[in-house]
């Protein structure tokens, strides 16, 4: 039996709302949603912190917080980047910022 496969458009007419190009113009101009932007910044910041973790000249990073490690490096005159400290002080409540890259792994 060859039933003709009916399309939903057979009973409901395709109604295409004309947008008059409204959407096209909208998408490039306004900034991407604030959420996405925040995510991007966060990712950048975390990447910087991970690079700080991986800089061997400041000593091992496991078991201590990033700020503790920064302060130790400062104490011994190793010139850790100030930017890292500012970042850590702004975000001191967030464990993802506070703790080193390996903090999720058991010792």
């Amino acid at each position: 039996m060859t039933t003709k496969r009916r399309l939903i458009t057979d009973s409901f007419k395709v109604v295409k709302r004309s947008r008059k190009g409204g959407k096209r113009e909208k998408s490039p101009t306004p900034p991407p949603s604030p959420q996405k932007e925040a995510d991007r910044i966060r990712e950048e910041e975390l990447e910087k912190l991970r690079q700080f973790d991986l800089d061997w000249s400041f000593g091992p990073c496991t078991g201590i917080s990033r700020l503790q490690r920064w302060e130790r490096a400062k104490l011994h005159g190793l010139n850790p980047p100030e930017e890292i400290r500012d970042l850590l002080l702004q975000t001191h409540a967030d464990p993802e910022y506070n703790l080193s890259l390996w903090s999720g792994y058991p010792l």
């Binding site: 061997w56 000249s57 000593g59 091992p60 496991t62 078991g63 201590i64 503790q68 302060e71 130790r72 104490l75 011994h76 005159g77 190793l78 792994y105 058991p106 010792l107």
Partner: protein, 500 residues
């Protein structure tokens, strides 16, 4: 000196009739300005979640600038100081790093287990750490089943197959040449001068240590004042041979012994410092932890009586003279260095006196401007076990030259996992540097390159030698003072011998 003081006064005052009805002269004890500088040895928050990598990293960070400076002094300011990662074969240069001595005889839990279980499982050294823990626990239980005995305790753990390795932040290299591996210990930070050979080993031509730190000048004193050092009282031991000597010591210090001359001499002892092991090793009952609870329920720990005895002894002392009490290896406080002060509640009688100072081990204080630094001897004994050196005095001097109180911590000596800085690095040079619980009394005045003057003292164990020592703060001389009631040698005079 102290001995002359007691002799020069008309020595026969004991044998003559009391001069008059009144009490006789009172000798005022000289009191001195005193301040403790042991804050760095206090452990506030105690977190054991860190690895020991931090303490080695901090040690190297702190010592690198000092050693670079020394290297330039020694081998000229144009000496090339390199990190191991920049090292090129056959290039003469200087490297600053931490020594590691690979020792076959060093007790290691991994080795004990792998030898026992080695036939069934081969260890591969590069396993992720989480697996290690699983493996370790497995092997541990296996080991228990096999009744595995620990490696025997030895007096010395050195062996001719030992290897010296120098580590910096990133790499390590084997050392050869003009460096005596038996004298070096793990954890010392040194600078070596030489070149890497084709076979990847570094040939040392010369090496240097950080040497003595700078010293603050000692204020000149106008009269002789003494500090009495004693250690290893060994209370609570099964044989009470030393009790008479100990009581004599207390009586001598409190001025209840001898004639007027001796008493006026005793008044110049302005402080007593007890350097650890106040209790005997016998008070540590190792069985208690393995026995069934119901068997030990009504028994009392051996240290309880000994502490009570110590409290009574201290009471006699603190009523008359300020006393500093340092804990030692067998005393009831934490085991790992730095040992925290004994708790006041253990001394209900003597702790009401402000003259009782419960100090930490290591001890650091300024007594009338004279800096005292020292330990109860664990650091020295540990180096003795892991190097060919035997003389406590020589080891003491070596740690001063290395500018580090306890280089073998945390490798073979218990140590708190510090991360910020290594508190055992000497930042300023003491005037008196001592270690307790030595087999014999020994002392030496050494001079540093920058005019430092340090008195080294090994304070003998009192329970076995009956010897304490007196340090003269004015001249920095030290003399032993023996309280042995019965001398070991027959030919010595057998009478009570408060000799000098």
């Amino acid at each position: 000196m102290f001995s002359d003081l007691s002799v020069q006064k008309e020595g026969s005052s004991l044998l003559c009739r009391p001069a008059s009805e009144d009490q006789g002269p009172v000798f005022e004890r000289t009191s001195l300005a005193y301040s403790q500088c042991s804050e760095r040895y206090r452990v506030g928050e105690r977190s054991f979640s860190r690895q020991y990598a931090h303490i080695y990293a901090a040690r190297l960070m702190q010592m690198r600038p000092l050693l670079s400076e020394r290297a330039q002094q020694k081998w000229g300011s144009d000496v090339v100081i390199k990190k191991l990662c920049d090292l090129e074969t056959a290039e003469q240069c200087c490297i600053v790093g931490t020594l590691f001595k690979r020792m076959d005889l060093q007790p290691s839990i991994l080795k004990e287990i792998s030898e026992e279980v080695g036939s069934s499982a081969k260890f591969t050294p590069h396993i992720e750490s989480s697996y290690w823990i699983v493996l370790l626990t497995t092997f541990f239980f296996l080991a228990l089943q096999h009744n595995l005995l620990p490696q025997p305790a030895r007096a010395k753990y050195i062996h001719e197959s030992d290897e010296l390795i120098l580590e910096d932040e990133l790499q390590r290299i084997k050392l050869e040449g003009k460096i005596d591996k038996d004298k070096c210990v793990t954890g010392s930070v040194i600078a070596v001068y030489g070149a890497e050979r084709n076979d990847g080993k570094f040939t040392v031509e010369d090496f240097c240590t950080a040497d003595l730190p700078l010293q603050k000048a000692r204020p000149p004193l106008d009269s002789d004042r003494f500090v009495l050092l004693a250690s290893g009282l060994g209370l609570g031991s099964t044989h009470a041979d030393s009790m008479l000597g100990l009581q004599l010591l207390v009586d001598m210090v409190t001025g209840q012994l001898g004639d007027l001359g001796e008493q006026s001499g005793a008044a110049t002892i302005s402080r007593v410092l007890l350097a650890g092991n106040l209790l005997s090793q016998n008070t540590q009952d190792k069985d208690a932890s393995t026995k069934a609870k119901y068997l030990t329920k009504k028994t009392q720990a051996g240290s309880v009586d000994a502490i009570r005895l110590l409290d009574e002894l201290l009471l006699q002392l603190v009523a008359s003279v300020p006393v500093d009490v340092m804990p030692g290896q067998y005393d009831p406080t934490n085991y790992t260095l730095p040992q925290q002060p004994l708790h006041r509640c253990m001394f209900p009688l003597s702790s009401v006196y402000p003259t009782l100072q419960l100090a930490s081990n290591p001890y650091h204080a300024s007594i009338d401007g004279v800096r005292f630094l020292g330990t109860s001897g664990q650091n020295v004994c540990d180096i003795q076990r892991y190097s060919s050196r035997d003389s406590h005095l020589e080891i003491l001097e070596e740690t001063l030259r290395l500018r580090h109180l306890a280089p073998t911590a945390p490798d073979t000596l218990g140590c708190y996992p510090f991360y910020q800085k290594d508190p055992f690095i000497l930042e300023e040079c003491p005037h008196v540097y001592f270690s307790g619980n030595a087999p014999t009394f020994d002392s030496k005045l050494i001079k540093g390159p920058d005019g430092q003057e340090v008195l080294l003292v090994t304070v003998p164990e009192f329970s076995s030698t009956q010897i304490a020592c007196l340090v003269n703060l004015r001249t920095l001389h030290c003399e032993p003072i023996s309280f042995s009631a019965f001398s070991a040698d027959e030919d010595e005079e057998s009478e009570m011998n408060v000799s000098h």
